[in-house]
Symmetry: C2
Subunit: 121 residues, 2 copies
Amino acid sequence: MAQQGSLAEKFSRFGEHWRPRVIACLNGQEVKIVKVQGEFPWHLHETEDEFFLVWKGRFRVEFRDRIVELDAGDFIVVPRGVEHRTCADQEAEVLLFEPAAVRNTGNVVDPVYTAPGGVAI
Amino acid sequence: MAQQGSLAEKFSRFGEHWRPRVIACLNGQEVKIVKVQGEFPWHLHETEDEFFLVWKGRFRVEFRDRIVELDAGDFIVVPRGVEHRTCADQEAEVLLFEPAAVRNTGNVVDPVYTAPGGVAI
C-alpha cells in the first residue's frame, strides 16, 4: 500500500456504496474511505470504537435513542457495544479510522451489506 | 470529551502553532488537530506510526532522503523509526491519527516545540 495519496483521487477510483477501501494501515489500525447512500443495517461492534469523518455530503448516524446529523467536516466516535446504523439520503463520502479487520456490519452478517475486509486502494 | 463535532469549529478555538489538540480517543489511539507554520525539529518515533491528513493549506513532510508536498486532502503515514520533520511555509491545518500519549517531538525534547500531550478540545 502506498500509505500516501489524495483523498479525492482515492474516492474517484470506485463507485460502489458501503464497500470500504483501506488507504492506510498504522499501529494495528486502518484508515478507510467509503461511499454511502441509503440505510445501513443496525449493528454494533463488541470490542471496537469507530471514528467517522464526513469528507463530502451529509451523513447520519442513528442510535436507538438519538440521531446525529453530520455535514462535511463533522466527525463522531461510535463507542464499542453501542447499536447504530449509518444513513445518507444522497451519496456521501466518509473517512473511517478503526482497528484493522473490523467487519463493517459488526455483529451482523448481511448478504448485501457485509463487505470484504482489507481491500486496499 | 464530546467525541463529536466540527473540524472547522475545533480549529477556530485555538491559534498556536505546533500544539496538537485531541478531538477524539478510541481503541488506544487519538485523533488530533494541529495548526502548523514554519519548520518542526527533526525527530522520530521509535514505536509509533503517524497518519497526517491536510485539512487546509499546504504541508510538507521532509525525510532525510526525500520531501513530500501535501495539499488539502492529501495524506501520508510516517512509519515508526523514520526520521522526519514537518514544515509549512504558510499556516496549515492538519489532522493526525496516532497512539495515545505520543510525544510530538518523538525522541527529542525541545524547549519550544515539545508540547503537552492529551490536551483535549
